[in-house]
C-alpha cells in the first residue's frame, strides 16, 4: 500500500501460494556451529500473526518485527488487534491480543487475509486465531503454557497439540518459557521477570526464520530499558537465544527470504496512520505559519495524536488536555479566534459531544480541524476496533443547516497528506473540517516515502489588517467573492474590533439579525461556500475501459478494495475502481463517473452510509456491500462480491 495510484501487476493472492526461487545456503552471523547450513527458501510475501495474552507484549513484538522488516526494505502492511481492557483476565479468549504483519517483495495493499504463520503464546491465542488459518499454515506454540488448567480455561477438553486436531497445519511446539528461562539463568533476574522476556525469544526465532536484521531491535531494547540495564540485557539475551534456537534446532529445517520490494525511488520510513496524521498537523502549522493549538480529551484510538503532538513543543505546538471533549474543541475554537490553527482530536462518542461547538464554528466561520478516528459504535461500541460508521454523523450530526467539509485518508501514510488537505480547506474557506480516519488506519502502518518539505502545499494565510467597509468600518461577514470566506481578523488588530457569535448574523456587518430574508440568505450562503470548495476530480482506474462494474470506496477500505480489484483483473474480470478522499463536497465529476457504469458497488464498514448519500444526491442505484465486524474487509471476500456483480451483468446480457 505504497501509493494510491500504483499500477503494479502484483496480486495479493492467497497466503503462501507464490513461494518461488531455489533453496540456497545461508550465512548468518551466528552461524559458527560447524553444522551444515540450513536451506533457505525464497518467498515473495508472508503474513505473520503474533498472538498472546494482553500482558505478553505482542504489540511490542509486532512493532519490532515491523521495524526490522521496514529497515530491510520490504513493502508491508500491519493490523494490530487488541482488546479494550488493559489487562483482561490472563489466559482468556477476550484477553487475546494480536498483531498481524504482511510483508512482501512487491507493492501490497492489506495486512493480508489469512496468516501463513501464527505464533500462539498460549491456548487462548491458539483458539482465538485458529479459524483464520489456511491449511498448511505454520503454527509456533509456546508449549509451556499448554497446561491442563490453561486449556480448561478456554474450553479445550483435550490438548490440541496432541490430539491430531492440528494435522492440517505445520505445528512447531516450542517450550518458549523454559528456553527463555534457561537462556537467562545467569542474568540474576527473578523468574517472573525473566519469563517476561519470552516475547523477545519468539521475536528472535521469527527474525531468524525470515532473515530480519537484528541490530535495530538490540538498539531499541537498550534504549527502552536504558534505566534498567539488567532488563535490557536480559531481553537482548532472550532475543539472541531465540535466533540461535532457530539456527540450531532441527524442528526448523528451513528459513525464508523475502527480498526487498522495488518501491519507487526515494527515502522511506515505516509510519502508522496516527503518527502520519500528527506529522501532517505539525507540517500544516509550519506551512501555514500559524501556531498549532490542539485541544483534546483522551479517547481510544485517537489519544496517540495528543501524545505525539505534546512532544513537539519546539515547533510552537500547544497541546491542551481538556476536562472533557467539549472543552477540548472549545479551547481549539478559542485559539482559532486568536489566530491559531485550532485542532481537536477524538473518536465517534467525542464527536457527539463536540457537535454544538462544531455548529458554532460553522456559524463563526473560523478554521478548525476536527479529527475523528472512527471506531465501532454506537455508544462506547468497540473502542479498539475499526469501523467507518461516523460518516453521516460528520455530515449531518448538528442542529440546523450546518455543512462541514469531510476529508478521509485511504491509507496510514496518506493520513499525512489528508491532514494538510484538511488544513488547506479550513484555512482557505474559514470553516471547520472533518478529518475522518479510523482505528485500522490509526494503528496500522506501512512504508512512507518521506516528502520534501518544500514540495508540501503552501498554506500561508493573510489575516485582515484594514477595515473593509466603504464607510471605513470593519465588516466581519463581508466575503471573498471567489471562496465566500469571511475575513479572519484576530484580536490585537487595531480598528477591526468586532463581535461574533452563534446567533444569526446580518450579512456583511455580522450584527445580530432575526430578519427572515437575511437568515434564508445566510443559510444558503454558508451551504454555497462548502459546496464551492475546490476538490480534485475523482480518478477512475479502468485500464481496459470496458468495465461495466465500478467499485467505489472511501477511507480505509482502499487497501482491501484495491487488492480485490487486482484479483478480479488477474482472473480476467473487468472492473473499474474509484476512491473518494473528499466526501463533502464530492468531486465535481462524481455524478458523471457513477452514471458511466451499469453497476456501482460500494463496500463500507457501516450499513451503507456513503451509498445513501450517493443515491440521494445522484439518483444512482449504488449497491452496498457492508460489514461491521470491527475488522477490515478481506480482499478475497471483496473479490467474490465483484465477481458476483460482473457475473450478474453478464447473465443479464445473455438472457
Amino acid at each position: 500500500m505504497t501509493s494510491q495510484v500504483d499500477q503494479s501487476e502484483a496480486v495479493d493472492g492467497p497466503g503462501g501460494e507464490r513461494r518461488t526461487g531455489p533453496a540456497s545456503p545461508r550465512s548468518g552471523p551466528q552461524d559458527g556451529s560447524g553444522r551444515a547450513p540450513k536451506p533457505i527458501r525464497r518467498l515473495d510475501r508472508v503474513i505473520i500473526r503474533f498472538a498472546g495474552d494482553s500482558g505478553d507484549g505482542m504489540q511490542l513484538t509486532g512493532d519490532r518485527f515491523t521495524s526490522e522488516t521496514a529497515a530491510f526494505g520490504n513493502d508491508l502492511s500491519t493490523l494490530p488487534n487488541f482488546p479494550a481492557e488493559i489487562r483482561a483476565p490472563a489466559g482468556t479468549l477476550p484477553g487475546v491480543s494480536s498483531f498481524q504483519l504482511h510483508f512482501a517483495d512487491h507493492d501490497i495493499l492489506t495486512p493480508g487475509d489469512a496468516p501463513d504463520v501464527l505464533v500462539a503464546m498460549n491456548p487462548a491465542a491458539l483458539k482465538a486465531n485458529l479459524a483464520d488459518l489456511p491449511a498448511g499454515a505454520e503454527i509456533i506454540v509456546n508449549t509451556d503454557e499448554f497446561t491442563k488448567r490453561a486449556l480448561a480455561k478456554v474450553g479445550y477438553d483435550k490438548d490440541p497439540l496432541g490430539d491430531g486436531s492440528l494435522e492440517a497445519f505445520r505445528l512447531h511446539p516450542v517450550p518458549l518459557t523454559t528456553l527463555t528461562l534457561e537462556a537467562l539463568k545467569d542474568s540474576g533476574l527473578a523468574r517472573k521477570d525473566a519469563e517476561r522476556a519470552k516475547n523477545m525469544f519468539a521475536l528472535g526465532l521469527l527474525s531468524w526464520m525470515y532473515h530480519r536484521p537484528t541490530h535495530g531491535t538490540e538498539l531499541f531494547l537498550r534504549q527502552k530499558f536504558a534505566k534498567k540495564p539488567q532488563i535490557a540485557e536480559a531481553n537482548v539475551a532472550a532475543f539472541r537465544a531465540g535466533w540461535n534456537f532457530g539456527e540450531t534446532t532441527e524442528d526448523f529445517a528451513v528459513s525464508y527470504e523475502v527480498p526487498p520490494a522495488k518501491l519507487p525511488a526515494g527515502t522511506y520510513r515505516n509510519i502508522s496512520g496516527n503518527l502520519a496524521l500528527s506529522y501532517g498537523l505539525v507540517a500544516a502549522g509550519e506551512r501555514s505559519g500559524l501556531p498549532v493549538f490542539l485541544g483534546s480529551y483522551p479517547i481510544t484510538p485517537a489519544s496517540d495524536i495528543l501524545h505525539e503532538l505534546s512532544k513537539h513543543k519546539n515547533f510552537g505546538v500547544r497541546t491542551f488536555q481538556a476536562e472533557d471533549e467539549i472543552a477540548g474543541i472549545g479551547a481549539a475554537l478559542g485559539a482559532a479566534f486568536g489566530g491559531a490553527l485550532g485542532v481537536t482530536t477524538t473518536s465517534g462518542p467525542g464527536v457527539a459531544l463536540k457537535s454544538e461547538t462544531i455548529g458554532l464554528a460553522v456559524s463563526l466561520e473560523l478554521p478548525l480541524l476536527v479529527v475523528d478516528i472512527q471506531r465501532g459504535g454506537p455508544s462506547t461500541g468497540l473502542p479498539t476496533k475499526t469501523e467507518q460508521a461516523d460518516l453521516l454523523q460528520a455530515m449531518f450530526g448538528r442542529n440546523g443547516e450546518a455543512p462541514v467539509p469531510i476529508v478521509a485518508p485511504a491509507t496510514p501514510a496518506e493520513c499525512f497528506d489528508a491532514a494538510l488537505d484538511a488544513a488547506r480547506i479550513a484555512l482557505t474557506y474559514r470553516t471547520p473540517v472533518f478529518l475522518l480516519s479510523d482505528g485500522y488506519l490509526a494503528n496500522g502502518s506501512e512504508p512512507w516515502k518521506i516528502p520534501a518539505v518544500d514540495e508540501l502545499p503552501d498554506l500561508r494565510v493573510e489575516f485582515a489588517t484594514e477595515p473593509n467597509g466603504a464607510d471605513g468600518t470593519f465588516r466581519p461577514y463581508q466575503r471573498d467573492p471567489h471562496t465566500l470566506a469571511r475575513p479572519w481578523a484576530v484580536p490585537g488588530t487595531p480598528g477591526l474590533e468586532h463581535r461574533i457569535g452563534g446567533i444569526e448574523k446580518q450579512d456583511g456587518t455580522g450584527n445580530i439579525s432575526y430578519d427572515p430574508a437575511n437568515h434564508d440568505f445566510m443559510v444558503r450562503t454558508r451551504q454555497a461556500k462548502i459546496d464551492g470548495i475546490e476538490v480534485p476530480d475523482v480518478e477512475v482506474d479502468d485500464p481496459s475501459g470496458e468495465a461495466r462494474v465500478l467499485v467505489l470506496g472511501w477511507g480505509s477500505t482502499y487497501g482491501p478494495i484495491t487488492a480485490a480489484v487486482r484479483r478480479v483483473r488477474a482472473d480476467g474480470g473487468q472492473v473499474a475502481q474509484a476512491h473518494l478522499r473528499h466526501l463533502n463536497p464530492f468531486p465535481a465529476n462524481l455524478g458523471p463517473v457513477l452514471r458511466r457504469y451499469e453497476r456501482v458497488i460500494v463496500p463500507e464498514m457501516n450499513l451503507g452510509q456513503l451509498a445513501l448519500l450517493l443515491r440521494a444526491k445522484y439518483l444512482v442505484d449504488a449497491q452496498s456491500y457492508n460489514q461491521v465486524r470491527g475488522l477490515p474487509f478481506k480482499a478475497a471476500q471483496l473479490a467474490d462480491v465483484l465477481h458476483a456483480a460482473i457475473g450478474t451483468l453478464d447473465a443479464e446480457a445473455t438472457r
Binding site: 520510513r269 509550519e286 515547533f315 489566530g339 484580536p491 463581535r499
Partner: protein
C-alpha cells in the same frame, strides 16, 4: 496609576481612553431596569483604567441574558454557546498571552450547564477574569429556578417549590482551588469597580460574583443588600488587613473551636481579613457566613487573592524550554525520523 502585573504582556494604549471608546453602536437589548445595565456601564467606564490597547481586549460569553454583554463592548468579542465560555476563553488566553481576556457568564451558564468548565478553569489558573452575574434565576428562558435559587423557590418549573439545594458560588470556587474570589453588587459602582481593579491586577483566574437584579423574574432578590435601611446591617465589607465588622455593633471572630462566627463587639477580638492567606480555610469560612435565604451577613469584596503559577505562562515557558533544549523544530528532520531506508532506481 494602578499597576496591573497580570497585563504586563498586553500592549499599552497609545494614549488615554474614555468610556466612549468602549461603547458600541449596538442597541442594548436588556429589559428596562435590568441590573446588567449598571454592570455594563461600570465595566465600560473601568476599562480605560487598564491602559491597554482596546484591540487586545476580548470578552467571551456563553448563553443567557448576561452573555449578550460582548456585543456592547467595543473590543473583540465572542458570544459562544451555553456554558462553554471558560473553555473557549482558556484556548484563547493560553495561545495569546498578549490579550486581556474576560468571561461574562450567569448563574445558569457558569454553574449549571458550564459547571465543569468553570471549576477546571479555576484550578488551572489561566489568566482569565470571570464575571459571574448571579441573579438566582433563569432569565432568558423566562423564569425557571437556577442552581443558586433558594430551596423552595416557586418558579414556572417548580410550582410547588424547588427541591435543589443551591450552590454557594464562592464556596465552590474556593473548593476548586481558585486563586482569586470576590463578590460585589450591580448597583454599587464604586465597589464593583474596586473589585474589577483587584481582579485585573490578579495574575491567573479571577472569579467575581456580581449580585445582579432580574427585575422581571426575581425582582428584589438582593434588596436587603441595597436598601439604605438594611444594607449596613446585612453587608460585611471585606478589606484586606482590616478587622471584619458586621453592622454597627457586631464583628466576626474565630471561636476556640476554630469556627468563624458573628458576635457582639464586646465579645472577643475581630478577625483581621487576610485575602492573601495561603490557606483557604478562613476565606471559605467567610463564604459560609451569609444566610442563604435572607442574605444577612453577606461578605462583599475580595475574599481570596493568592499567587500561584499561571497556566498560560507555564505553557509558554514549556514551549520556550523545549526550543532551548532541542532547538527550533525542523520539519524535514521530524518527518525523516531516525530509521529510514533508501530505494534507488
Amino acid at each position: 496609576m494602578t499597576d496591573f502585573p497580570a497585563l504586563r504582556l498586553v500592549p499599552k494604549a497609545d494614549g488615554p481612553q474614555s468610556v466612549k471608546d468602549f461603547k458600541t453602536d449596538q442597541e442594548v437589548r436588556w429589559c428596562p431596569g435590568c441590573g446588567d445595565y449598571a454592570i455594563l456601564a461600570a465595566v465600560q467606564s473601568f476599562m480605560p483604567e487598564l491602559g491597554i490597547r482596546r484591540e487586545n481586549t476580548v470578552f467571551v460569553s456563553g448563553i443567557g441574558c448576561s452573555s449578550r454583554f460582548p456585543y456592547y463592548m467595543n473590543t473583540y468579542g465572542m458570544h459562544s454557546i451555553h456554558g462553554r465560555a471558560p473553555a473557549i476563553a482558556t484556548g484563547l488566553a493560553a495561545s495569546r498571552p498578549d490579550l486581556s481576556v474576560w468571561v461574562v457568564t450567569g448563574d445558569g451558564d457558569a454553574l449549571s450547564i458550564g459547571g465543569n468548565h468553570l471549576i477546571h478553569a479555576l484550578r488551572r489558573n489561566v489568566n482569565l477574569k470571570i464575571l459571574l452575574f448571579n441573579n438566582r434565576i433563569y432569565g432568558l428562558t423566562k423564569g425557571q429556578y437556577s442552581p443558586t435559587s433558594e430551596v423552595g423557590k416557586i418558579t414556572k418549573s417548580t410550582p410547588m417549590g424547588s427541591l435543589d439545594a443551591p450552590f454557594n458560588p464562592l464556596s465552590l470556587a474556593i473548593g476548586a482551588e481558585a486563586t482569586f474570589v470576590a463578590r460585589t453588587i450591580d448597583s454599587d459602582r464604586q465597589h464593583l469597580q474596586s473589585v474589577l481593579r483587584a481582579a485585573a491586577q490578579h495574575e491567573g483566574t479571577a472569579l467575581v460574583e456580581i449580585y445582579q437584579n432580574c427585575n422581571i423574574f426575581n425582582d428584589g432578590a438582593f434588596e436587603v443588600l441595597k436598601e439604605p435601611g438594611t444594607r449596613d446591617e446585612a453587608l460585611i465589607r471585606l478589606e484586606h488587613g482590616q478587622p471584619i465588622l458586621a453592622g454597627a455593633d457586631r464583628h466576626v471572630v474565630r471561636g476556640a473551636d476554630g469556627e468563624v462566627r458573628i458576635v457582639p463587639r464586646s465579645e472577643g477580638t475581630a478577625l483581621v481579613h487576610d485575602a492573601h492567606a495561603s490557606s483557604p480555610t478562613a476565606a471559605f469560612a467567610l463564604t459560609r457566613l451569609a444566610d442563604a435565604d435572607l442574605l444577612h451577613h453577606t461578605p462583599i469584596g475580595v475574599l481570596r487573592d493568592v499567587r500561584r503559577e499561571v497556566y498560560d505562562v507555564q505553557m509558554a515557558d514549556q514551549l520556550a524550554l523545549a526550543e532551548e533544549q532541542k532547538g527550533r523544530g525542523e520539519l524535514a528532520g521530524l518527518l525523516a525520523g531516525s530509521s529510514t531506508w533508501t530505494v534507488t532506481d
